[in-house]
Amino acid sequence: MNAATELARRHRWRWWEALPWIAALAAFFVFPTYLAFGTQVLITILFALSLDLVLGYAGIVTLGHAAFFGAGAYTVGMLAAHWGWNEPISGLVAAAFVAGAIGLASGLVLLRTHGLALLMLTLCTMALLEQAANMGAAWTGGFDGMPGLSFSRILGLFSFDVLYFRSQYLYTLAVLFLCFVLVRMLVYSSFGQSLTGVRENLLRMHAVGAPVRTRQVLAYTVSAALAGVAGALFTQSNTYVNLAVLGLERSAGVMIVLILGGYGRLYGAFVGAIAYMVLEHSLAKAYPTAWQLGLGLTLVLVALYARNGVIGILVSLRRRFAGTAR
C-alpha cells in the first residue's frame, strides 16, 4: 500500500479499534468488584481525551483543564441539589453546555496569547473558578462539598448502583464511546487537519489564510464541553462533589496521564489512563504509604526513554518488527 492510499484511508475503522471496547466490556464481567475503580478510569480516559484534542491536536498547552471538569461536575451537582434536576442524561447535556460556554468565553480571551502567558492564564481561569466555588459555599458546599446527591434512573431504567457501581460503569462506558466517536470524527475531518497544521506550523497556517484563532477557540470549546461531561459523570457516579474537582492536582494529573499514554494519538488517553491508574491503584494497595516512590520512578523512566509515551513504544516496536520481517 503506498503512502497516499494509506493517508486517504486512515480515517477508516480498523479491526483493532474494537479491542479497547471489548476489553472494557470483558472487565465488567471479569472484575465485578473493581467497577468503582473502573468507572474512575473511564472518566479519566474521557477527561484525557478532551485534553488530547487541545494539547495533542491543537497544540494548546493548558494547566487549567480541570476548570471545565469542575464546571461540569458542579453543574450536575447544583442542578440536583438546588433544583431537583436529577435526570442524569439531560444533566450531562447541561454540563457540556455550561463547561463549553466557559471554554468559549475564556478561550476568546486566552487564545490571544501563546506559550508561558497562555499557560499562566489557563491556570488563573481555574483558580478563579475554584475561588468562586469556595466563596459561593451556600451554593456549592465549598470545601465540604455537596453530600447526599441522588440521581434518577438512567433512561428511566437503570438505577445507580451504590455498592457495586455496575450501572455507573456501563453508563460511563457508553458515554465515553459516544464522545470518542465524536472526537475521532473531528480529528480526521478537515477541521482536525487544520488543527494539526496550527500545531505544526502556526505561521504557515496564517500565511495560507486559515482562520487560525477561530479554529483554536472552537477546539478549545469542544474540548471544554467534553471535559465538562467527564466532570458530570464524576459527580453522578460518586454522588458527591467538592472543591478538589477544580485543583491543579487534577489538571496536572490528567496531563501526566496523556503524556504517559502518548498525546495526539486518540488512544493515548486510553493507554495512559489505564497504565497510570492501574499502576497507582495496585501500588497504593500494596504499599499505602510508599506507593508514590514506585509511580515516580516509572514516570521518570518513561520521560527518559519513551518520550512519545506507551503508544510511542508500541509504534516503534511495530516498526522495528516490520523492518526485520521485510
Binding site: 468488584t33 473493581y34 468503582a36 475503580f37 455498592l163 467538592n242 478538589a244 506507593w291
Partner: protein, 400 residues
C-alpha cells in the same frame, strides 16, 4: 465405609474449625490519607492505632484483629469512596475507620448505609457528618466542641466582654466562628467584628486583618486557622503588631497549638490561650502512660497530638464492639454497642452520645507557658462532658 466416615467427620471438623477461626477474626478497614498533604495527620492517627494495639493486647479478648490499610490520597472524597467500596466488596471488612478529611467521610456515608458497615470516624470534624448515616459513630470532635466551649470560657474564665473573630475562609473556620459566637454571646459577650482571613491553602499576609482587629480594641481576638504554618504566621503577626501590649488576648481552638508544632512556635506563643479536647501535657495517669508508650515506640522527640489520641480511642471503641459482640460483627448491634460507650481515655473520660452517636468529652482551657526550656500547655480550667453543640442547638444542617 469406615474411611468415608473418617473423611466426612474430618471434613466436618475442619469446616467447624474454619467457622470458629473466621468468627474470631475481625477485619478492620483503615482509610487515611497516607500520602500527600494529609500524610502527617494520617501518621498521627495510624500511630495512635498502633499504640493501642500494642499496649492493650488484652482489650480484644480472644478475638483477632486484621487491619487493612488504604490510602485516601487527596481530599476529593472520590478516592476515599473507592477505597471504602473495595474494602467492603473485595476485602469484606467488618468495620471501617479512619477518615481525616470531612469530604472523605461525607462521600463514603452512603456506602456505610447501603452495605451496613459500622464506621468509626477518627477525625473528620464537620459537625453534621454523624447525621448522614445511622452507621456512623465519631470518636474525634466537631468544630463546635472547641468553638462553643471557647465562647463560654472567653466570657467566664478570660472575663472578656468583646471579641473580634478572624478565621480561615473554609468550613472549619466558618463553623468555628459560628460556634464561638453562639457560646460567647449566650454567656453575655459580644462579637464586634468577623474577619475572613484568606483560604486554607497558602499562608496569607495576616497584617491587614490583624490591624483591623487591633483597631476595634476587643478584649480577645479569637483566631481559627489551620495548624502548622498558618499558626506560626499568626503568632508572628500578633507579636509584630504589639497586640499583647495593647491588651488584646489571642485565643483560639487547640488546632493552633497542635503538640507536634508547638515547640517550633518559639516564645511568641507564650501567653496564648486555647481550648481543646487534648494536649500531650494533660495531667492524668492514662495520658502519662500513653505519651510514654508513644515516645518509647516512635522516638523520644515525637509526641502524640489530638489526632494521635483519636486513633487510640477509635481502636478502643472498636475493641469494645468486638468484645461485646463476641467477634461476630452485626452492624446494628455494633452501633448499639457504641451508643453510650464510656472510656477512660488519655484525654480524660469520654463517651458516645446515645442519641447523636457523637463524642462527649472534656475541653481543656490552657495557656502556653515556658517551663524547663520548652513550651508547655498549662491547664487553666476544664469544661466537663462537652457535647457537639451544633446538634444540641439544631444549627443549619445539624438539624435532624
Amino acid at each position: 465405609m469406615n474411611t468415608k466416615l473418617t473423611q466426612l467427620s474430618a471434613a466436618l471438623f475442619l469446616t467447624a474449625f474454619a467457622a470458629v477461626a473466621l468468627a474470631q477474626t475481625v477485619k478492620v478497614g483503615v482509610v487515611l490519607p497516607y500520602t500527600g498533604g494529609g500524610a502527617e495527620f494520617a501518621q498521627q492517627v495510624d500511630r495512635g492505632i498502633q499504640t493501642f494495639m500494642k499496649h492493650n493486647p488484652k482489650a480484644f479478648g480472644p478475638y483477632k484483629i486484621e487491619i487493612v490499610k488504604r490510602d485516601s490520597k487527596n481530599p476529593s472524597g472520590a478516592e476515599a469512596k473507592t477505597a471504602v467500596q473495595e474494602l467492603i466488596v473485595q476485602e469484606k471488612v467488618d468495620i471501617l475507620t479512619g477518615f481525616i478529611y470531612s469530604g472523605d467521610a461525607i462521600a463514603s456515608a452512603s456506602l456505610f448505609t447501603e452495605a451496613k458497615r459500622p464506621a468509626v470516624i477518627m477525625n473528620a470534624g464537620t459537625a453534621w457528618i454523624t447525621n448522614l448515616s445511622p452507621m456512623i459513630a465519631r470518636v474525634s470532635f466537631s468544630m463546635w466542641h472547641a468553638g462553643h466551649a471557647m465562647g463560654e470560657a472567653a466570657a467566664k474564665n478570660v472575663k472578656a466582654k468583646t471579641a473580634v473573630v478572624g478565621y480561615s475562609d473554609f468550613p472549619p473556620g466558618k463553623d468555628s466562628l459560628d460556634a464561638f459566637k453562639r457560646g460567647f454571646e449566650a454567656s453575655g459577650g459580644k462579637v464586634i467584628d468577623e474577619i475572613p482571613m484568606g483560604g486554607p491553602g497558602q499562608v496569607p499576609d495576616f497584617t491587614p486583618f490583624f490591624q483591623r482587629a487591633k483597631d476595634k480594641k476587643p478584649d480577645v481576638f479569637f483566631v481559627f486557622v489551620p495548624a502548622g504554618d498558618h499558626a506560626l504566621a499568626v503568632l508572628k503577626t500578633y507579636g509584630a503588631l504589639g497586640m499583647r501590649a495593647a491588651g488584646i488576648k489571642l485565643i483560639g481552638p487547640g488546632d493552633i497549638t497542635q503538640d507536634i508544632k508547638l515547640q517550633a512556635m518559639g516564645d511568641n506563643a507564650v501567653g496564648l490561650i486555647t481550648i481543646h479536647h487534648y494536649n500531650a501535657d494533660l495531667d492524668n495517669a492514662q495520658n502519662k502512660r500513653f505519651v510514654e508508650a508513644w515516645k518509647q515506640d516512635f522516638g523520644p522527640n515525637t509526641t502524640p497530638d489530638f489526632m494521635g489520641v483519636q486513633g487510640y480511642d477509635g481502636m478502643a471503641a472498636i475493641a469494645h464492639v468486638v468484645t461485646t459482640l463476641k467477634g461476630k460483627i452485626d452492624a446494628d448491634a455494633a452501633i448499639n454497642a457504641l451508643r453510650g460507650w464510656k472510656y477512660d481515655s488519655p484525654r480524660g473520660p469520654i463517651s458516645i452520645d446515645p442519641r447523636t452517636r457523637d463524642i462527649v468529652m472534656n475541653e481543656y482551657l490552657s495557656e502556653v507557658v515556658k517551663s524547663g526550656g520548652r513550651l508547655v500547655q498549662k491547664n487553666i480550667a476544664t469544661l466537663t462532658a462537652v457535647k457537639d453543640m451544633c446538634k444540641e442547638l439544631g444549627e443549619g444542617r445539624c438539624k435532624q
